[in-house]
Subunit: 335 residues, 2 copies
């Protein structure tokens, strides 16, 4: 099955590049709201499921045991830009568990935020694991291990109690089995499991609506959604899509990007969960699709609509600031 063209990139009067993709929107009963393309093809959700991966930390009571703040809970669900505030909060989470950055097993990389990267270089410094976009998630994993009285070492391995708890949460919410055969290694070294988009969307429908969940997961999901809505900067960063969208819409949308063109979302007021993937793994296409879905499904005030439209159809400028084209949902997608 050929996936449809969903996003196009223009230059002058022509379409220069085109992105295909697949989208599943599902309600909290698992009913199909929208299905575009081959949604049964398994997709690695990558970082798009960090909020579900954070459920055991809250549900276990360990977040409360360590008095984790809303900022810290938001960072546990983040793919952050490595800005100083993100680094500070990751460090604070580790300190609450009596640990430090040497326990992180995510690897180091330069901040993904351009300004943060250049500022770090200008200070003559090099990045460490706290700058890794996943450091908040990993700090949460270390808190979980310590709170369970487990040795955090090796917490990235699939056999470690931390990853077992994470996998159980993913299976519980999505209803899809997460087995070795469909697993890969994520950028930050934890396992990632490929599942169909409708399963992923179903998980986020339940996460957003709070239905079909144990009472522990239900209140954990609510706490995460509130924490992220209060601190949208923590889950991404300056000029990032997730931060901008949730700053505009607050608790009306929970949205999380993943690598390779994956995006997940919950629209709690409708009880809908969303999962999508750009075939080619391109993030610009995934962002335009997600903003397009928000415009399609949510009633927005004029100012909110304008802000989301700017995310759905960003203008492309060259090095002299001249407008050269734009990214936009294709006509197929807008129908």
């Amino acid at each position: 099955m050929d996936n449809p063209f969903l996003v196009e990139v223009t230059r002058g009067n022509l379409v220069e590049s085109r992105h295909r993709g697949s989208i599943a929107v599902v309600d909290a009963d698992g009913g199909t709201v929208l299905s575009l393309g081959d949604v049964e093809r398994r997709v690695f959700p990558r970082s798009a499921v960090k909020a579900i991966q954070a459920l055991p930390l809250i549900e276990s009571g360990i977040a409360d045991k360590y008095s984790l703040s809303d900022e810290e809970i938001a960072l546990a669900c983040a793919s952050h830009s490595g800005e100083p505030e993100h680094v500070r909060v990751a460090q604070s989470m580790l300190a609450k568990a009596g640990r430090d950055a040497t326990c992180l097993e995510c690897g180091a990389h330069w901040p993904s935020g351009e300004a943060a990267k250049l500022a770090l270089a200008a200070q003559g410094e090099k990045p460490n694991a706290l700058h890794n976009n996943c450091s908040g998630k990993h700090a949460g994993f270390i808190c979980l291990a310590c709170g369970l009285d487990e040795d955090p070492r090796g917490y990235v391995k699939s056999a470690h109690p931390v990853q077992q708890a994470v996998r159980a949460a993913l299976e519980d919410l999505t209803g899809a089995s997460h087995t070795e055969e469909v697993s890969g290694i994520d950028g930050c070294s934890i396992p990632t499991y490929a599942i169909p988009l409708p399963s992923l969307a179903f998980g986020f429908a339940k996460f957003g609506a709070g239905v079909g969940l144990s009472s522990g997961y239900k209140s954990a999901a609510e706490r995460i959604r509130q924490a992220v809505a209060r601190h949208p900067f923590m889950v991404a960063g300056t000029d990032r899509f997730d931060t901008k969208l949730m700053t505009v819409l607050g608790e009306r949308v929970f949205v999380k990007v993943g690598a390779e063109g994956v995006f997940c979302a919950a629209f709690p007021e409708l009880g809908f969960g969303v999962a999508l993937k750009a075939d080619d793994g391109n993030g610009r296409a995934a962002e335009a699709m997600m903003a397009g879905l928000v415009l399609r499904f949510l009633q927005l005030a004029d100012e909110q609509r304008a802000a989301v439209e700017a995310l759905a159809q960003p203008v492309l400028k060259n090095w002299n600031g001249i407008e050269v084209g734009r990214i936009r949902p294709s006509s197929d997608f807008l129908q």
Copy 2:
């Protein structure tokens, strides 16, 4: 017409992302050697035609008038990484025409080379137009303007004698008309014209084989190919595909990347020209396709073959250096 899957990106045992594209390989008589996908769809060649855009500088005798070196001629065809050597050579070209960086109209951006960018930031500096990946091409344009006794100001505009000469060279080699309706503005502010891939490939077949050209263009093309083969670092930079491929194969291949997944090449010994585009504009896919075509068409010694295979099927590692997958030509493409 649906373009075929040509490149896939794996994670674990699964294909995570897939790239479609189109490819035209043409001989110097314009005969079709290979045609994959919808090759009649117009494509903006972007920076892939810089070598053709540099022909007027040589053919006019102005490169000789200013005693441009092989390094400088190679840089005139470059999308360079903004490394110190690139900046030095661009500056030298401008000085030979009695000009400096204030004449560049390409805009400033941080070096595209990561190490060069971080080193510049560590020195507390900011980028200028010399760091722009197109600064060599623009320095060549300024030399051309000055050599023609034209005011270089506005040399990026389509009506300026520089762009008229450049457009004439593009039309002459490709045989395609370059009109306003199919034009867009490139990243560096000059016009770019969308033409079909076979026309683009035809231009590079003639460029590489030296047939079907005026004697002036023929010797200019030869000079450019030799200059680039002698200084492959100048056309791209550290760890860049074009530099690596031409370092291994010398004058046997002329290859040039363009933005948005475009690649052009000449295989002079076969008289073939190549033009390809990844539908989605992704450079990793375009690189894998180009390396795949080199493997398909050229007889290579074992060591050369191994080097090109590493470019066709790069291993993907995560932040801890663990192999997580690879990029590879799809089975359709390898047939």
